[in-house]
C-alpha cells in the first residue's frame, strides 16, 4: 500500500517504467590510469539521460577485475571517463571533478530542468548489497535503493503532495513520476508539516478538503514557515469563499479545480519549478554580490584604506551595460516598463524572474535610499501593480510598504485573484527586504567613505567629501 515519508515507495525509483538499461553506471577504479567508465549501450545516445533522472555515478576504489565482472553483469561497455564527461557536458549536465581529483567525478545538475544526479557511493557498499545475485533486475533494485538513500540532496527538485485520498496521491504520482521530481506524499496536513521539516521542498500541491485541516489553512501555515515554496491548491470547485480569501492573503500561488487537466498540471508544475529556481538564482546572485560588498567593507574598515569601495569589489559589478542612473538600468532591461501606464494583462513567470533579477542587479548600483524605493515601485508597476499612497489605497492593496521610509507609505494595488497579484504576493516581501539590505549596505559604504575621506592633519573632510556635499546642496537648491 501507499507509504509516506522516506522509503523505497517514495520518489522516482518506485515507478514501474524504470528498466535496467536506463541506468548509467560510471565505475571508477580510483587507481588505474586511464580511468575506465562503464556505460549502457548505446553510449552515443544520451537522450535517456534527459528522459530518466535515474542515472547513477558509482565511484569505486576496487580492483579492475571485480569491476569487469560487474560491468559484464550490467551489460555495459568500457570507455574513458573523460569521453563520458564530454558527452554528458554536451547533453546539458554539469559535471564536476571531485576535490580536484581527475579520476573522481560527480554529475551535479542537469541544466534544463535541474534533475541533479549527485550520486556517489563506494562500490564496496553496492557490492555488499548485490551479494551473489548480479541479474539485471537485482542490479536495478539495488540501484534504486542507493538512489533512495541519496535523495536527500538539498538541490533536488522536490514536490510535496498532500491529500487524504490515497487514490489521488497515486494518480498524481503516476502522472508526475516521469518528470524527474523527488515526490513526497502526505495523507494529512500534520504529515505534510513533518515532511517539510525534514526536506527542502520547492513546490507543494495540496488538496483543499482534508479531515484534520483545510488545504488553505495548511498553506497559510506553510507560508509562515517556508515563504519561498510555491504553494498550489487542488480545489474541488465548491470551496469558493475560503479559497478567494486565501488567495487574497497571498497564501496560494496557483489553484486547480478537480478533475485536473493532466497535461496542463504537468506543464504548470514544470513551469513552477523553473520559476522557483530562476527566482532563487537571482537571489543567490544577489546574496553573493552583497557578501562581496560586506567583505570589502570589513576589509576596508580593518585596513583603514581610502578609495571607492565598489571598484575594490569587482564581483559586485553586474553584467549589465553601464548606465547613468539606477532607474535607467531597469528601463534598459525592461522595454515594457511603463510607470503609471496600464498594467500588463497577464504575467509570464519568465518575465517575472527576469524583472526580479534585473531589479536585484540594479539594487547593487543604487546611490541613495530614494533610488532603491523608486526601483521597488518601478518593479511593482512592471509586474502589473499600480503604486499609490497608502492614504488613497483601498482594501485590495498589498499590505507591503514600498516607500522604504522615503516619504509617505506607498502600496501596490493589483487586481484581486489575477496572476499578477499571485506573483506580487510571492515576490514583493523578499524584494522589499533585499532593498532594505541594499540601503543598509549603501549607508555602510558611505560611512566608510566618510571615515577614509578625512584629512589626517586637520580632521576635516577632503575633496571627495566636498564634492558629495556640493552635489547634494545643488540638488537641494534646485528642488
Amino acid at each position: 500500500m501507499l507509504q509516506t515519508g522516506r522509503g523505497p515507495q517514495i520518489g522516482v525509483t518506485s515507478r514501474p517504467t524504470l528498466t535496467p538499461v536506463s541506468e548509467l553506471h560510471i565505475i571508477d577504479t580510483g587507481k588505474s590510469v586511464p580511468v575506465k567508465v562503464y556505460t549502457p549501450q548505446p553510449v552515443n545516445h544520451w537522450g535517456f539521460l534527459t528522459k530518466h533522472a535515474s542515472a547513477l555515478l558509482l565511484i569505486a576504489n576496487e580492483p579492475r577485475t571485480r569491476l569487469r565482472d560487474i560491468a559484464a553483469s550490467l551489460d555495459v561497455t568500457e570507455r574513458t571517463a573523460y569521453g563520458l564527461v564530454a558527452d554528458l557536458t554536451e547533453a546539458g549536465y554539469l559535471v564536476k571533478s571531485k576535490d580536484g581529483r581527475r579520476n573522481r567525478y560527480s554529475i551535479q545538475e542537469h541544466l534544463p530542468l535541474r534533475d541533479p544526479i549527485v550520486h556517489e557511493r563506494t562500490i564496496g557498499e553496492v557490492l555488499d548489497l548485490l551479494g551473489g545475485d548480479r541479474s539485471a533486475q537485482r542490479v536495478a533494485l539495488i540501484a534504486g535503493k542507493v538512489q533512495d538513500a541519496l535523495q536527500n540532496e538539498p538541490s533536488r527538485a522536490t514536490l510535496l503532495l498532500v491529500d487524504d485520498d490515497p487514490h489521488v496521491l497515486l494518480a498524481l504520482q503516476m502522472l508526475l513520476g516521469d518528470d524527474g521530481y523527488r515526490i513526497l506524499t502526505a495523507m494529512s496536513a500534520l504529515e505534510g508539516f513533518d515532511l517539510l521539516a525534514l526536506h527542502e521542498v520547492q513546490v507543494i500541491l495540496c488538496d483543499e478538503r482534508m479531515p484534520d485541516m483545510t488545504g488553505t489553512d495548511f498553506l497559510a501555515r506553510v507560508k509562515e514557515m517556508h515563504p519561498d515554496a510555491l504553494r498550489i491548491l487542488l480545489s474541488s470547485g465548491a470551496d469558493g469563499e475560503a479559497l478567494i480569501a486565501s488567495i487574497n492573503r497571498g497564501e496560494v500561488y496557483r489553484y486547480y479545480t478537480k478533475p485536473w487537466d493532466a497535461a496542463e498540471l504537468r506543464n504548470n508544475l514544470r513551469e513552477a519549478f523553473r520559476h522557483y529556481w530562476n527566482l532563487q538564482d537571482a537571489h543567490t546572485e544577489w546574496r553573493t554580490a552583497t557578501t562581496v560588498v560586506e567583505a570589502a567593507v570589513a576589509a576596508d574598515r580593518r585596513s583603514g584604506t581610502a578609495g571607492p569601495l565598489r571598484s575594490a569589489a569587482p564581483g559586485t559589478e553586474p553584467a549589465v551595460t553601464p548606465v547613468r542612473s539606477d532607474n535607467a538600468v531597469l528601463a534598459a532591461t525592461s522595454p515594457q516598463a511603463r510607470p503609471g501606464g496600464p498594467p500588463p494583462a497577464s504575467v509570464e513567470p519568465s518575465m517575472v524572474s527576469d524583472t526580479v533579477a534585473s531589479a536585484l542587479r540594479a539594487l547593487l548600483r543604487i546611490r541613495s535610499a530614494k533610488a532603491a524605493a523608486d526601483l521597488l515601485q518601478l518593479t511593482a508597476e512592471k509586474l502589473g501593480a499600480t503604486v499609490v499612497p497608502a492614504a488613497d489605497a483601498d482594501e485590495d492593496a498589498l499590505p507591503i510598504d514600498l516607500s522604504l521610509g522615503e516619504g509617505p507609505p506607498l502600496l501596490a494595488v493589483v487586481e484581486p485573484l489575477s496572476p499578477a497579484r499571485m506573483e506580487l504576493e510571492h515576490i514583493l516581501p523578499r524584494l522589499v527586504e533585499d532593498a532594505r539590505h541594499a540601503v543598509d549596505l549603501l549607508r555602510q559604504t558611505e560611512r566608510l567613505d566618510d571615515e577614509s575621506n578625512h584629512d589626517k592633519l586637520t580632521g576635516l573632510g577632503n575633496r571627495r567629501v566636498l564634492e558629495r556635499v556640493l552635489a547634494r546642496a545643488g540638488e537641494a537648491s534646485s528642488s
Binding site: 584629512d455 592633519l457 586637520t458 580632521g459 576635516l460 573632510g461 577632503n462 575633496r463 567629501v465 566636498l466 564634492e467 556635499v469 556640493l470 552635489a471 547634494r472 546642496a473 545643488g474 537641494a476 537648491s477 534646485s478
Partner: protein, 128 residues
Amino acid sequence: MIDLDHFKRINDTLGHAAGDAVLARFGRTLSAEVRVGDTSCRLGGEEFVVVAAGMDEGGARELVDRIRAAWVEAAPHPVTFSAGLAPITASGGTPALLAADRALYRAKRCGRDRTEVEASASRFEAQR
C-alpha cells in the same frame, strides 16, 4: 572658500612642523565656528571650503568674521586669511565652488586679509 595668506613663508622660515601645526589649529577653529550640519573641508595645501546650506550672504559674512575673530585668538603664529563667498544656486555646487574661487582671487588681489563675494556664477559670466 578660505586661503591662508602667505602660508609658504611659515613653512620656509619656521619649518614644516610649525606649518602643519598652523593648519591643524585652523581646521579646529573652522570646526568650532561653523554650525552643526555645515561641512568644512581642506582641499589641500592651505585651502579650505565651508559648505553652509541655507545660509544667506549676510550670514556667510558673519560666519567669516566669527572665524576671523577666533583665529586671531587661536593662531599659533600670526597668519591672516582671505575668503571668497558664493551662493549655491540651482546651477549646482561646482559652479558655486568656481565662483567662490574667483571671489577669493579678488580678495587676494585686493590686499589679502579680507572677504569678497561673488553674487552668482551667471552674473560673472555676463560680465566677462
